[in-house]
């Protein structure tokens, strides 16, 4: 067994397949976020809280199944912050995302996200338009820092403590809560933030708010990584496969 592991120390599907999975997965994630937001806004016009409840439940459920569905194909990052942290941890341990895969992952996530916004618009007959929802207040930016820190800490703590099999459910559940406990409704994802600029509906974000949100998310990612080392100092040394495990023996 040790011998075979030497030959395939960290098996991964071909980059093209993984990038395709990141593209499709992030597209569907944004379709869920934006589409359920439009549905909620149209069907529950009198109560914004009820709209957010509908939107957050749909997102939590959808995100969990997307990670289950595509985790073995690409790791189901669907999020540049997650890919960056995965790559960063991997630099030391020679596991995680290889440097040469980082740019393709990020581009697939951004391209997929925008495609998801467009797909939601097609389904709900909503023309693309720049959002007019200004979100970048101080409280919202603190919310993004907290939300992204928690997300990074959660994913990599589960990976380190041998609970990768619950990551899909846990990430969905986390985002479902974070929609409510942050004032920003927890974007926590630069690619998704960019894409939500292109729809002037419930889930939209005004272009001027995007850069501050992304900066807050990157800061949150760093904070989450720092907390990970506080609670699990051996994380970089023992984790072979961060985020979601890649158990499949395909090629």
């Amino acid at each position: 067994m040790k011998t075979s592991q030497t030959h395939t120390p960290h098996f991964r599907p071909h980059l093209a397949r993984r990038v395709a999975a990141e593209f499709v997965g992030t597209a569907l994630l944004v379709t869920v976020v934006v589409g359920s937001g439009i549905a909620a806004q149209q069907l529950s016009p009198r109560d914004v809280g009820l709209q957010l409840l509908e939107n957050s439940i749909a997102t939590a459920l959808g995100l969990a199944v997307l990670i289950l569905m595509l985790g073995p194909a690409s790791g189901a990052h669907f999020n540049p912050v997650v890919s960056l942290v995965d790559w960063l941890i991997g630099r030391r341990t020679k596991t995680g995302l290889p440097t040469r895969d980082l740019a393709p992952y990020l581009l697939a996530q951004i391209g997929g996200s925008i495609t998801g916004t467009l797909l939601a618009g097609i389904m709900f007959d909503t023309a693309p338009a720049f959002s007019t929802t200004v979100r970048a207040s101080g409280g919202h930016l603190v919310g993004e820092v907290v939300a992204t820190a928690g997300l990074v800490l959660l994913i990599f703590a589960l990976a380190h403590t041998g609970k990768g099999h619950v990551t899909a459910a846990a990430v969905g559940v986390y985002i479902g809560a974070a929609y409510w406990f942050t004032s920003s409704t927890s974007f926590a994802n630069p690619a998704v933030t960019i894409a939500r600029m292109f729809t002037d509906t419930f889930a939209g974000i005004a272009p001027a708010s995007v850069a501050p949100f992304i900066l807050a998310q990157l800061l949150g990612g760093a904070l989450g990584l720092g907390l990970l080392f506080v609670f699990y100092p051996a994380a970089t040394h023992t984790a072979r496969d961060v985020v979601v495990t890649h158990p499949v023996k395909a090629h």
Copy 2:
């Protein structure tokens, strides 16, 4: 172990029991969909979004337990598209649904679905009537393609990657999200679509919309199968039991 597998390469309960399970399971699925739709419409008359929230939560929960309950008996397809894809993959690998079982499965699903609509009507004192809810707009049909593609990809990706034990929960969760992120509220099932024609309540669909919906669902099934091969090219070769595993040693 190899020897015993040679003698029982793909154990299945008797066809009559499996067909009965498909009939009862699909009937109860439609009872859940239509019955909870009527309850939601009667009890929350002022907010269609709240009705859909109630309907989608009940459907997600009910679908998950029905798959758990009857998966070992019949595979818990409850859906002609799932049976067709199961059969199609099985043609190459000699696993999956045998050709001679395909028609009985489809007929049981359609008959069960209609029975479920009638049972919901009896419980809620609602007479059967053709639905007047026209749904076949362009956006809705795109929604059915997306919803069915995702469903097929999910079920067969889980089967291929050794996560059949979470299929029941994952399919329920997926449909719960898909009610919201598609504009069509995600029928994603030709048998259920046919049956929902016969109730002029929340979950109904006008007869004229049925054929376009089914075409979109078949197209979605094909798309889902294509995506499966993109992400998991070895799917047809390694999967012994697609959809839900049949672990029971009964006869």
Copy 3:
């Protein structure tokens, strides 16, 4: 191992402990049902559907954890129909509930249920009173038959197919759905039905409706048992521990 199993073929905690667990568990179950019903009625006075959503979510969650918490102590039946079916199956296989334990279980369930109604009344400052909610229409009785049949089929199918570890979650999920897909809001439990007679709040049932409901539930239990044999004909022969497994080695 075979020897040790001969000496303890079916280990059970002492009857007094199991009866105490049935009493407390059923009491807390009714506290959840009645208490959350009162809370929902008080806090969401304008939408009965929203009340039922709140009531059904609380019940689904509460029932699942009660089964987890007390399953190893008593089997967590909390329901005379479940105890009766457990005993009936056990007559053939010498497993299941012994005949001499049946009456104590049923009395504990009924006494616990009534205690639960009183406890909810104390918490919410609601005096006990006979309910005035007449429920025994034809559609409602069909609903009770369907709900109880499904419950029995679910519990014993999971036991037979080796999925006892998901019974707690599945039963909670099932009842959460059944609140909505039946017109009766799925009592499915004679002990709970009796107890809900003593509160004139959201979850109450008029005394005149109790006997018809219980008859429908018993009929549903028989139907569920029949369906179990249709789908899993070997159920009585291979199941050693129906309902919830009793894994604990205490006394």
Copy 4:
């Protein structure tokens, strides 16, 4: 194996890391409770029940992931009653929380809770203020006794019966139900109760109600421990790791 267990009979991360985890975990728990309460109150101003539904769902989800995330680091008590019971059981069996760790745990939980209230206030631009919500009626105090007893019984019953892997989900689910079936909305946690004094929003509690609530919670903890011994008399002898297991091999 016995030898290695003799040398590390009850491995624990360093106290500083565990205290940090209790601080951060309890802070985030209160951020979830208070933050989602503020969001619910702002977004659903017309229906208190809907506010509680939003608040309870967010809390259930958030609590579950926090326990998953930090359980291996500190045991994820986040609650002085849980730490006290853990310590008490541990006195006999030399497992559980050591006496010298008790005070640091409790201080971290209280300090973390207050920090969480402040963080929620920053995110939602809400200044700290003493709550004016008087809650200490007789029914509410009975509610706190019941809620805390159930929580303690649940956590330690799962630990004793070998189901520690579902504790995170079960505790979240339990609290989600307890928000509804108790009239007090189930604080069940002295540290969180203290912290909720400092916000005059949905989740607040007037200072005069805090001491009675804490007394009721301590009484409930004792009741829960008593019930544990009724149902599982061997609990103190066989449980090596109460509450959440500490499986990680870090330091």
